[in-house]
Structures are given as structure tokens and as C-alpha cells.
Homo-oligomer: 537 residues x 2
């Protein structure tokens, strides 16, 4: 019961099949780093021949020197051809990754209907493709597509497909419930049969079409599977892939399997939220283990029992997965996080200090309004520095105006800003390629004479998220701005029901943060440049 389970993440490949998910090469590299920090064993990057984003990913990921094995995805060779001349297989080998997963048919119906070839030719396609990968020195995994549907229709053929891959040297036989229609009892029975018939290691790959992907994965592991394929937050086609954020804690905390080092498991919630920000997908508050409401208790009987012993209404300690208890009536959570963040920044805080209590209240109030500091370290740091150090005000804003006009001649965006720098008023205007760009240009134009180094950094990402969907276009939005330069990257946040105001707030934070870091205008506790390194992400 204490077997090791290999965690195979396919967020970057199967996860991107999810509706509304589209990741740039930069996004993919950021997510790969985060997954590596979580400690997953395999990261499936994509198909190295399918599009320019994936090609760029495979080229650039090498320089990150990740501990996780990067794997490439493809199919068994085309029918009636040679693996050695299959363009897609050649690109996988040439991509230079140490491991690859090939999907191949295991359901006779699919061989006839979708592939339109003979059962024998499909088996040859499997054998030839894995023999080729193994001759190329790679770790090789066979994604046995529709394995369970295939087994139910023709068990001997489904097993024959696995055997071909095993005979060709495949290291893993990954049983896929591609359509997501299989039930846990069937999964357990079929995986047990496979375990008794074959010797290669078994993996499991499920989909959530019956809301059973997590249960199906557990059933397969209990029947002998030792690799689990899934995605962060369950992203994936249709109803999604098996959700690693639920599977990992279930396997490790409930069933005693080893998936991740204990201290890495404590970063699970942060990982899930970070990736949902990058993917720009709203995370359900009620998501198991990592959701914002996963350990939230409404007032009344539950809360009073929780105060006596949290075990009364919590199935695990939330900290084990990096989440926290929330009492929706009187918030007591978060304080320790804020203090530990301030300590990390070298600020002189402790929980009994009056100033500490004030800043904790202020941050809670901001979070209540919709701010989120998990993806905006620089904004949090500005707040903490304002509270605990003698921070100089670099500039103050008197007003700004924005005009956007669409005529037959095209779009015009113009911003007018009035700010004060060192007692001097600056009143200027600029155009831009959109309103936020115009505001950024005008601000920079006003500041460059005082801070020429402002030209050494630029905005590198801009995200908008509706916080409260009830009022749609009148709802509050959260803007995240990421800036890059000065050998660093930092993020700031703004919240308003007005997207322009929220953008403005995040822009101001970004520039203030950078100028403070450059000029060391604070009389802070530790060196700013050094600290900028700390918050590098």
C-alpha cells in the first residue's frame, strides 16, 4: 500500500483540448516550471510536429533544466508505411526529449471505423512504432486509446494490442478511458485482468464524462496501475481529464501511496491557482481540496463545532494541500500567511504588533473586495512596505482622462494624465494602440524626465478577469499586469467595476514597484535588488 505512483501531467497537451483553453509557448514554459516545482514525474509538452507553439516549447524547455521528464506526444505510424519514414515519429525523436507517448487503437470498432484498416495492420503499427522509439533510446509509453470500450467489445484484441506494445519494448501500457464512459467497478476488474496478463508497468488515463474520472483512477491504482495521467484542475476536452489536484491527495493522504514529497504537496493549492491564472480559466470555488470554499464554513452549528475541533467538519487538515480553513462569518484565516510573507521580505513584524493587525485587516478587506495577491506579489509587497517602512511617495496622481473613438477612419485612443513628482506638476497626453497602452504611454512620458530608467522595463502581460459574474459588464473586474525588465518579472493587481480604472491601478503599482526597486528610495530593512530576486517568479 505504500507503492510509488508516477504522476504524468498532460495539462500542456490533453488539457489544451479543453474548450476555451489556449496557451502560448510562454504560458506553457511557465506552467512547466510550476509543475516541476510541484514534483510531477512527467510533463507532456505537446506534439512536436503539430504547430509552431509546440515546436517552440520543445526547443526552449531544454534550457530550463527541469527535473521532470519532458515527454512528446504522437500517434503510432500511419497505416501501410514504415515507422522509420513516418514524419511525425521522426519529429518526436528529433525533438530531443527523453520520453514519448504514442496513442494507438485498442478497440476493434475504431480500427475498422476510424482508422479503416485491418486488425492485423493496427497491431503492426503498434509494434513497429514502439520498436522504433526503443531503437532510438527513448522511454516509450503506449496510450491504449479506448482501451476499456475495446476490452468490453473484444477483450482478446484489446489485450493483443497491449502485448504488441510490450513485445516491442514499451515501458508503460497506459489504459485510456478515452470517452469517459466507464464505471469504477469495470475499471477495477479490467485493470486487474491486464495486471495478471502482462508484465510491463500499467498507467491509467481517464476522462470525466460521468463525473467519475477521479474514482476511476483510484480504482485502477488499487488494481495495480502505477502511473496516473491527468491535468491540473481537470482541464481537457468535453468534461475534462482526470483532475490531478484531487487524485494526488486522495492517493497520498487517504490511501497511503507515495506521489509527491510531503512538502511539495503543500504547494498544490498554489500550483492549481497559478495555473488557472495563466490559463485564464475561472476556478470553481468548490473545487475539491484546492478551491477557495473547499474548507469554508458558514455560520452556525458547523462553525461552533469547528471551533471546538476542526475534525468535526473537515476531512483533512487543509494545510496538507496548502489550502486553509475559512470561516465565512468571522475570518480568522490568512494572518499567518501574511506574517510569513512579511518575514520573508525581511520586515520586522510579529502577530501581536498593532501595525501587523492593521495591515492584516487591510489585506482581508481588499481580498473581500476582490483583490487576489497570489498572482500579484509586487502589489502585496508594496502594501507591506508601506506599512512597515518609511516609504517615499514617488509621485501622486491628480487625475486622468481617456478618450476612445471609432470612426470610419479607424480607432483613436488618447490618455491625458496630471501627476505630481517631487512637488512638480506634470500634465501630459499620449496616444496608444488601445486605452491601456495610451495610459501606459502617457504615464511613462510624464515620468521619464525624472526616472530615465523607466525605459528599461515594459509590460509583458495583461489579464482581465470578471470577479462577480452576476452583473456581467457592470461587474467588478480584476486586472493583473506583469512587467519585465531589470532582470526580473513582477506582477501587480487592480480591482474596479471599471476596467480602465482597474488597469490604471495595476499600471501604477507596477511602475511604483520598479522605481522603488531601482532607486532604493525606501529606508527599508534589506536591499531592494536582493529582494527583487526573492520575488522573481
Amino acid at each position: 500500500m505504500s507503492a510509488n505512483i508516477s504522476i504524468f501531467d498532460t495539462t500542456l497537451r490533453d488539457g489544451t483540448q479543453g474548450e476555451g483553453i489556449s496557451l502560448s509557448a510562454d504560458d506553457k514554459l511557465k506552467i512547466a516550471q510550476k509543475l516541476d516545482a510541484l514534483g510531477v514525474h512527467y510533463i507532456e509538452g505537446g506534439n512536436p510536429g503539430s504547430n509552431s507553439k509546440d515546436i517552440e516549447f520543445f526547443q526552449r524547455v531544454k534550457s530550463l533544466n527541469l527535473s521532470a521528464r519532458i515527454t512528446a506526444f504522437g500517434s503510432t505510424r500511419r497505416k501501410n508505411s514504415a515507422a522509420e519514414h513516418d514524419a511525425s515519429l521522426l519529429r518526436i525523436v528529433e525533438s530531443g526529449v527523453p520520453a514519448a507517448t504514442l496513442v494507438g487503437k485498442a478497440w476493434d470498432f475504431h480500427v475498422h471505423t476510424a482508422l479503416q484498416t485491418t486488425l492485423e495492420e493496427n497491431l503492426a503499427m503498434i509494434y513497429d512504432s514502439f520498436a522504433f522509439l526503443k531503437r532510438s533510446g527513448m522511454e516509450a509509453m503506449y496510450d491504449a486509446e479506448h482501451f476499456f470500450d475495446g476490452y468490453k467489445n473484444n477483450p482478446e484484441y484489446a489485450l493483443a494490442a497491449l502485448r504488441k506494445a510490450q513485445d516491442a519494448g514499451a515501458d508503460w501500457l497506459v489504459l485510456c478511458d478515452t470517452n469517459g464512459g466507464t464505471l469504477p467497478g469495470e475499471i477495477h476488474e479490467i485493470v486487474s485482468r491486464v495486471r495478471s496478463e502482462l508484465t510491463a508497468e500499467i498507467g491509467i488515463h481517464t476522462h470525466n464524462d460521468c463525473e467519475l474520472a477521479v474514482a476511476n483512477t483510484l480504482a485502477a491504482v488499487q488494481a495495480g496501475a502505477r502511473q496516473v495521467q491527468g491535468t491540473i484542475n481537470g482541464y481537457g476536452e468535453r468534461c475534462g481529464n482526470a483532475n490531478l489536484c484531487s487524485i494526488i491527495p486522495n492517493l497520498q493522504l487517504k490511501l497511503g501511496y507515495d506521489c509527491l514529497p510531503e512538502e511539495r504537496l503543500r504547494t498544490l493549492t498554489n500550483t492549481a491557482r497559478y495555473i488557472s491564472e495563466i490559463a485564464n480559466v475561472h476556478m470553481p470555488v468548490g473545487q475539491a481540496y484546492v478551491g477557495n470554499a473547499a474548507f469554508a464554513h458558514k455560520g452556525g452549528i458547523h462553525v461552533s463545532a469547528i471551533m471546538k475541533d476542526s475534525k468535526t467538519y473537515e476531512h483533512i487538515q487543509p494545510e496538507l494541500v496548502g489550502n486553509k480553513q475559512r470561516i465565512l462569518v468571522s475570518e480568522l484565516a490568512g494572518q499567518s500567511n501574511i506574517i510569513s510573507k512579511a518575514v520573508e521580505l525581511g520586515l520586522d513584524v510579529n502577530a501581536n504588533n498593532e501595525k501587523t493587525k492593521q495591515i492584516i485587516d487591510q489585506i482581508k478587506e481588499l481580498e473581500h473586495q476582490g483583490y487576489q495577491f497570489e498572482g500579484a506579489d509586487a502589489s502585496l509587497e508594496l502594501l507591506l512596505r508601506e506599512a512597515f517602512t518609511d516609504m517615499k511617495e514617488i509621485f501622486t496622481v491628480e487625475s486622468f482622462k481617456m478618450h476612445v473613438e471609432k470612426t470610419n477612419a479607424g480607432m483613436i485612443s488618447e490618455a491625458i494624465v496630471k501627476i505630481n513628482v517631487d512637488g512638480q506638476q506634470v500634465y501630459t497626453a499620449a496616444e496608444g494602440n488601445g486605452p491601456v497602452n495610451a495610459l501606459d504611454n502617457a504615464l511613462r512620458k510624464a515620468l521619464v524626465q525624472f526616472y530615465p530608467k523607466i525605459e528599461q522595463f515594459h509590460l509583458s502581460d495583461y489579464k482581465v478577469r470578471v470577479i462577480d459574474e452576476k452583473d456581467a459588464t457592470a461587474a467588478k473586474v480584476r486586472v493583473l499586469v506583469e512587467s519585465t525588465g531589470l532582470d526580473n518579472t513582477w506582477s501587480t493587481v487592480g480591482v474596479s467595476s471599471n476596467v480602465i480604472e482597474a488597469s490604471w491601478e495595476a499600471l501604477l503599482g507596477s511602475i511604483r514597484y520598479a522605481l522603488l526597486s531601482m532607486d532604493k528610495v525606501e529606508s527599508g530593512v534589506i536591499d531592494t535588488q536582493e529582494r527583487l530576486g526573492l520575488i522573481n517568479h
Copy 2:
């Protein structure tokens, strides 16, 4: 295997414990009618003594003459008192409903820690309360709180609690996994033991804290439970209750149990979406069975197989639960997606047609510019209808202007639009709670005199995504707008380097789509209203 399962819906009681869910008495009555039409057997309305909304609900629900049994919820009597004098039990009896559910402790730890009484007194509380309900002529159900945690800690005490309720005449023993921490294997084993030790009917009530509530419910039914408690869309405290929208089709279509008449099951998707609208909670696109993406196909290979036989990538026929197949058009997909989408819309296309080639090229070019149609069905449909039918232009835009100003007094957002409707120029302005809201308000103000039905739909979601991050605030953004009303939900897309322009484009698309659907202004291939039915999602 063809046993009847009683469906007990607690959306109106346990469902309202979910974060952000708040239902008025009117909302509750509407939902009760919808649940009754679906054919559930029990509708738990709330606690008739707890608040005025629930009192009003129980008074008014009688006149609806529903077929489902309305049930009231409460607790076993207070410790050291008589059931006959328990105010809460009296209110349940007085509410006039035919059935009631009482929650009572089954975990010795909770008796000591939360209830702070003796094990014997808790058993007496159970016995007395059920004897009282039965003397009052009601059907009585015992919600055995924390039954599984209790059983694991002290099996004999947990069983003794059930036995007391049974001895007092309780009709159902409902085993609750209150904290949601139990796994399917444990559930099966424990329910089997209960089934062998007791004679009363067994129910199951699970929570989703391990993302296993559906699997746990199935395991209990397979071990002999004959009542299933859950909520529509899985609403409920923390991670939610067991989701009836997944459980019912799993039990009925996969395991052969009888839950609902076949034709009622076909209203499941509509019921789920209707209730999500009333509850004002955004429905995840990937929700199993009933989600908008539950039968949506994106990968090119998948789509070409689906065209040959939909069984290749669908675990059930979507129509069985009232959902439908959708073909997503995306960068990962090929020409076959676009053609099958057009066929789905009833348009006269084929791959060799010159017009078909043109529209495919146009869509590819738009995707290259950053459009994404997989989340914007309505925009895609407008494009296809423009290409293949004689679509009338409802209105044209001459110009618009936007002002946003921040002063010490606050933010002002104002939009001015000049449009042409049927040869008439309309020039008007409106303020808003942010620039997009101002634009939406101004557009609607200009159109409402021509199309009063514009008030019957509203924007329900708004998303912004930076497409190419290299240029940050000068980069292109993609805006997705979702609108709801007229018994439908539809999404449109806009792309521009200017967030205001992209929002404007998506807003225009949304309104054009709705007005076209309402007024049948096209001379298209099939009737528009009918098509709205087809594309209902």
C-alpha cells in the same frame, strides 16, 4: 439490477448552503416546479422554523399540487427535553408536509464534542423524535450525520443509532458522508454491512470534498441503498453535495436502475441550466452530461471520426439527457469541423463547393488574427449564415465614442453611439458602471424603440484574454461576451488591439444574433426559431 431508486432532491435545503447561493421564496417555488416536472420523488424545501423564506415556501407550495413529496428538514429533539415540546419538531408537523427528514448524530466523537451529551441520551433523542413524527402520521427519514466517520470510529454505536430510528418507525435510514472524506470502497463495504443488519430502507447522502460524491453514491446503491439524496448541479457547502445531474444518468443509462421515466430524463439538461439561471451560478462548460461542452469535439481527428460514427467519441447519445453534440472550430481542428457545424445549422454546404472553401479560408484567417470560435458559437453562426443565406442587416454603426475620466470625485464612464436602423439615424448617449457597460447601455437605448424584446436578454459573462503577450498593453486582446435570455445562452467574440473595440465587436455580435433569432429576418434555409432550438446551449 432494475430496482427503483427514489430521487431525493435537497437543492432547496442543503444546496443553499453553497457559497454565493441565495434563493428567495419565489426562486424556491420556481425550482420546485421544475424539479417536479423532472420527476424527482422528494423535494426537501427547507426548515419550516428557521426563517421567513422557508415558512413562506411551505405555505405556498401546497397550492402548486406537485406530484413530488415535499419534505421538511430539522434535527432530532434537543437534549434532555421531550419531543412533544420541541418547538422545531412541532413546526415541522404543523407545516403540513407529508414527510420529514431529521438529522441526528451517529458519530460518538460528535456526540461528545459537538453535542456535549452522553451516548445514551443521543440514542434517546433519535428514538423519541422519530416516534413523535410517526405518531403524527408522517413519512420519516433519519439523516445519520457523519455515519461513515462514525462507523469507522465505533461501528457498533453507529449501527445502534440506526437501529433506534428503525425501532421508532423511521421509513428511511439515510447514511450521510457529511465531511465528504470517505472513499468508494469503504462506502460499499459499510453500506453492505448496514444492509445485512437492518431492515428499513437505506438512503445515501454524500459530499464532494474528494471529488468522489458521485462514485460514492453509485457504490452505495450497488450495496443496497434505494434512496439517493443530492442537488442539481451539485450545489452545496464547501465542495458541494452529490450531483444528481450525473448520478441519475449513471444509474439509469449505465447501471440499469429506474430513476425517472425516459422522457423526463430528456429534460435533465434543460432543468440543470434553468436552475443555474435561477440560482445565478455560472455553470461550468465541462459539467458531465449537461454541460455545454459535455459533447463538444475539438480535435480534428476526433471530429472526422465522429462524422463516421458518433459512438467513436461519445459515451452516450447526448439526446438521452437532452444535451447535444457540438463541433468546436479551433486552431487544432480542421475543415471537417466547419463543415459539420454548417450541416448542424441546416446550411447547404459541401466540401467541394466554392463558397465552402471561401468561408473556411475566411475562418482560418480570422483564427490567425486571434479569433477563437470554440467559445463563440453565435459569432461562428453569424459568419456561416452571412455566407450561406440572404441575411438582412438589422442596423449599421456609424461611429461611437467613449470617455472615461478619473477625478477626485470618482470615475465617470460615458458612451456616445451613432447607428442606423432601417434608414433612420439614432444618435444617443449613456453612462455606465465602466466603459463596456456604458457602451452596452447606449446601444440598447438606441435599439429598444425598434426592438423592445432587447430587454428580455442580458450579458451574463465577459472575458478578456491577451492573445499575444509580446507587446503587453499594445497587444491584441480577445473579448468573449456571453448573453442569456429568451431561454438561451450564446457567446460572441471580438478581437482588437483595443480592448474597447474588441468589446464593442462582441457586444454587437451578441445583439445581432439575438435580434436575428427573434425576428426571423433572414430568408435562410430553415426557420430561425427552430434553429435557435437546435443551437440551444
